[in-house]
């Protein structure tokens, strides 16, 4: 990994609801290097969006609260900043794009109006200069005819064009980190391919690090340098993309990869992970995956697994990778 940009240590987020306390994130640690594209993959409700929102401190309080941990961005703990200092970070140094661009764009203002406001606010430039920056950014996201696009309202653009406008807007202030929360999930595959190739090109050119959230293992494999897999509020495995797809170590990651139909093989039946995702109000003791795991043994329902490092840079939270001594002590008990 390159120079460290973001380090999340032992993060915990809880939501206090009438049904009980939802332990949405627990003991989450993650590092993102400068200019790196890190993929965060997991199923609905595993906490991947909560993690991204925590970084920008966008968790609504109530009902949610960050109850533990540190989020170090360039060495400063974001959780200790004042609201004012935090506002200077958002947009300038860390930006975010969401799944549905229509809900991030204001329908009653033109694209140019909204983009220029962002640029003028963050970069203290005049109107003409702001406009010039916007046109340049739209060119960089390969928008045909940028001047015309600036005069349009969001509803006049297609889904793919709107998402490109969002990318242009969020990267116009040259942030160091972009949080992308399922940015192409609502798009068709041919348009997704366009938008992601643009996103990859521009972030690599500018050296922007990306925390890319997706449930689609294919997109993660094609785009990301490293991958972190989440399950039920925790990270279970992190590794370079090539390593995790060639040799997944956590039983959950292995199950996920075998559960997806692929066009490059011909298997008749898909492997299935039995059961369903647990409730985070009352998550399973020990390893949260143990009730669905085919490899569980003595310690799994008692002790939450620590991270083991079976090969350099490949970390996995699973007791199967414990050392000999540790295993002997379990066997004795």
């Amino acid at each position: 990994m390159s120079e460290l940009l973001l380090e999340i240590r032992n993060l915990a987020v809880q939501f206090f609801t009438y049904q009980g306390t939802v332990r949405a994130l627990e003991g989450v640690s993650l590092r993102v290097g400068r200019g790196e594209i890190l993929g965060l993959v997991g199923e609905t409700g595993c906490g991947k969006s909560v993690l991204a929102r925590s970084v920008l401190r966008l968790i609504a309080d109530p009902p949610g609260r960050i109850t533990d941990g540190e989020i170090l961005f360039k060495g400063r703990d974001l959780l200790k900043l004042s609201r004012r200092e935090m506002r200077r970070i958002r947009g300038n140094e860390i930006s975010m794009i969401f799944q549905e661009p229509m809900s991030s764009l204001n329908p009653v203002f033109t694209v140019g109006n909204q983009m220029q406001e962002v640029v003028a606010l963050h970069q203290a430039v005049g109107r003409d200069e702001a406009r010039r920056i916007c046109v340049d950014m739209l060119r960089q996201v390969k928008m045909p005819d940028p001047d015309q696009v600036l005069a349009k309202y969001p509803h006049e653009l297609s889904g793919g064009m709107r998402q490109r406008v969002m990318i242009a807007m969020e990267l116009s202030c040259r942030p160091d980190l972009l949080l992308a929360d399922e940015p192409t999930t609502a798009l068709d595959v041919t348009v997704q391919a366009q938008v992601l190739s643009i996103l990859e090109g521009i972030t690599r050119r500018q050296g922007v690090a990306v925390l890319f959230i997706s449930h689609d293992l294919g997109v993660i494999a094609q785009l990301c340098d490293r991958v972190a897999v989440m399950y039920a509020g925790g990270i279970v495995e992190t590794a370079p993309a090539a390593a995790i797809f060639a040799g997944p170590r956590h039983p959950y990651t292995q199950g996920l990869l075998q559960a997806i139909p692929r066009i490059d093989d011909g298997k008749e039946a898909l492997m299935v992970i039995p059961g369903t995702v647990p409730s985070l109000i009352d998550p399973p003791r020990g390893c949260r995956f143990h009730p669905r795991c085919g490899h569980r043994f003595q310690p799994c329902d008692r002790e939450p697994p620590p991270f083991y490092e079976p090969s350099p840079g490949h970390r996995v939270a699973c007791h199967l990778h414990a050392g000999e001594d540790q295993r002997r002590s379990w066997n004795r008990s």
């Binding site: 199923e43 609905t44 297609s158 889904g159 793919g160 064009m161 068709d188 595959v189 041919t190 348009v191 997704q192 391919a193 366009q194 992601l196 190739s197 449930h215 689609d216 293992l217 294919g218 997109v219 993660i220 494999a221 094609q222 785009l223 993309a241 090539a242 797809f245 060639a246 199950g255 996920l256 990869l257 559960a259 997806i260 139909p261 692929r262 066009i263 490059d264 008749e268 039946a269 898909l270 492997m271 299935v272 992970i273 369903t276 995702v277």
Partner: protein
Amino acid sequence: MEPVIEARDLVKYFPIHSGVFGRHVDYLKAVDGVSFALHRGETLGLVGESGCGKTTVGYLVLNLLSPDRGTVRFKGVDVPGLRGKALREIRRNLQVVFQDPQSSLDPRMLVKKTVGAPLEVNRLARGAEVVRRVQAMLAEVGLSEEHAYRYPHEFSGGQRQRIGIARALITGPEFVVFDEPTSALDVSVQAQILNLVKDLQRRHGYAYLFISHDLSVIKHMSHRIAVMYLGIIVETAATGDLFAEPLHPYTRALMSALPLPDPGKRTMLAVVAGDVPSPVNLPAGCRFHPRCPEAREICRRSAPELREVKAGHRAACHLYE
């Protein structure tokens, strides 16, 4: 062998109204000449991007919409003309599973009622017999007997989809439309549902029309595939042939745009530029020509017909004339 379902030249235009007086201004050409036949125990996969008309095709063959032109035959009988008892007799053979199990199940109905309703409506069973058959059906889709006495909100997404499947299959249909049945589900649950759907077909010989935007799901489920673009089928072939040698530039674009879960193989390529045009103002000539990397002069002028390029492999493209 006689096909279970045969659709010929189906056309469906939706009128667009505008202004205070609802003046009719134009047509949205949702389906514009679609034909296919489907045999017992066979799955035809219908794949295409949003707005290509695949769901409308499903509704037309189910007689949930009536076509402006063209015919649908169930075992040789014209479906759109039927009324009353004859229609009901055929309807129990044509069933559907919808995308979103959340909105296609009545939240105030016990599962017993939801799954049993098709039996009562079609007068196939009464009283205790309904309950018995509902419980047998639930067991068959991987639920248990006591689930009959619960409400939809007590189930997970995957279990709700199992209820939807049970409701579709309880009348013993010969033909079932699956309209994006796993698009709302996570991959680990999707695998369970896809395996179940395949397994039920092996046991009972249903004919399936399987609609999805996901090419890898379609490949996994189908014996034959039809690729749709803007209201027409642009290519159709047996699954193996289509993937071995995709002919239409759009099919090839779809395949190379698909992200493979393998960082070693470079896929997810943006072969085609731009977005799908509006089905209101269709491009002249071939509908795909504005985005086609291989478009030539003739493509702008005349629309290619779907013709057989190789045995059982048909494509609508001027490259193969």
